[in-house]
Subunit: 328 residues, 2 copies
Amino acid sequence: MVTIEHIREARERLGDAVHQTPLLESTLLNRLLGHRILFKAENFQKIGAFKARGALNTLRVLQERGEPLRSVVSHSSGNHAQAVAWACGLIGIPCTVFMPETASAIKQQATRSYGATVVTTPTRQEAEAGSAAMEQEGAMLLHPYDRDEVIAGQGTAALEVLDDGLQPTAVFTPCGGGGLLSGSTVVFRELAPKTALYGVEPVSANDAARSYRSGSLFRFEEAPKTLADGVQTLSLSERTLRYIRRTDGIIEVDEEEIVYWTQWLTHLLKVTVEPTAVLGMAGAARWLAGRKKPETVLVILTGGNLSSETRARIWDRDLLQTVPEPGV
Amino acid sequence: MVTIEHIREARERLGDAVHQTPLLESTLLNRLLGHRILFKAENFQKIGAFKARGALNTLRVLQERGEPLRSVVSHSSGNHAQAVAWACGLIGIPCTVFMPETASAIKQQATRSYGATVVTTPTRQEAEAGSAAMEQEGAMLLHPYDRDEVIAGQGTAALEVLDDGLQPTAVFTPCGGGGLLSGSTVVFRELAPKTALYGVEPVSANDAARSYRSGSLFRFEEAPKTLADGVQTLSLSERTLRYIRRTDGIIEVDEEEIVYWTQWLTHLLKVTVEPTAVLGMAGAARWLAGRKKPETVLVILTGGNLSSETRARIWDRDLLQTVPEPGV
């Protein structure tokens, strides 16, 4: 199991290569809800998402161990692909990323600009096949969450929060494959055991909630539909489920709440957030609605890589007319 | 004239009531343009814009002088109104803001939440009339730029940049009434005289450019049309023109450049910026296109208060397909 020592070592290892991201808050939001909500702004992280932490930690661990790292391959249209491309560029390993043609032009451009060779394929399945073929030929395939070094890397965000002196009553993070939540669980269970810990998922993509309740891995047959494209993973892994069973639960939210909080956090915090990133806030709002005295909570904003298509779907109606209020 | 000492005093006076806003940069943008561009993120300032600085400095100066301050009045649908409401709330003076009904619901809500009484009127002219009537009855009308204490307050943003150790080759700020540019001019001319200083305006609202060229105040008959609603002022004042004549010029940009950079800075910096806020970047891009060796420049992002209507107009087409490149 990953321990707090692994996460401390990961932070040393990452050094200045990743940003120590700021904690943001909105005086207005605090006043409207009657609680203090702090946001760890991983949308300002390298590549625009926390994924940079886990990818670079993994490659540097392998380097330290002297393992031969001739080339890395990945497939994804999401933040993990960009993280792998960026981390490989930083340490000078050739990297190939297979992306489906449906991946937005700006994500392809960003991945190329980090120095990766981008191969576009007609479908997602063909991207996976291309990636698997290169792994067969000896390239290293970097898994987005089912790996101790990735979990330790993602945990460094939570460690920074505690080093900032913040001891929240509760913490809310999105939960896709569970890497970030697993790493955060190690940090808080070890260093702040009174802090409650919640993962948050769209109800339409609630594999983690089902796995948490039953205690065994639930797997979707095909990618669930949700605006929060960062948590469309089919399932946790056995590895991440072990950590996630130690949390206080998985909160399920609907698509309307995701759109609502994407609009409101864009407005109040002046940040660009992707729908996945606001899951923590949507879960926090539900949890805070049941609290009688003022609480201080932490929400991890996971990323800000918003495609034009998703942006258009977020802003096709105006939810800023409906002001946040307690208990809603 | 405002001196660097006035600006240093203003910063002492403002203390922790305003944020020392961060300097942001995008590695990708730097690489694409071949220059280093640093952004002073005043969109993260209290009330979401630099205007908080000048408004609070003014009220605190009047308090220090022991001037009777029974009530303050303002009219605006913009950032200055919110700044006045916020500053009055902070020091406990009743404040009335007259806003035209066309002001967006969220701006009205924000202004109310700072503790101001908001009076909506059918037209902008009636808002001004209401404000003038209250001034007649003894309320203090806080002008958005034609006042030394406001200029000194706005100058504190530039002072923070120099205290961060940054000595840019050139600085680019939007220019509406000229308060921010005036304050910045005092700071840079005094402490970094080799730094070039430019104001940036939409070509459709180029009163400052015309005044700069002719040396005498040019005034529009009616509010010019531009997406950059923060610089729709009819003219500089004689006071601000005196400072602005000491800059290196006013760069005029078109509406397409404003939309382009609003989209790209939202995407690259992961920040919410209003169209006015990106004027500096639009001007910097023009200026950098003519530079042969890599430069380090500063852009002041003035605010992030974007109405739903403006957001819809910014994103009604997709300019993220056209990647920034040098000389464009």
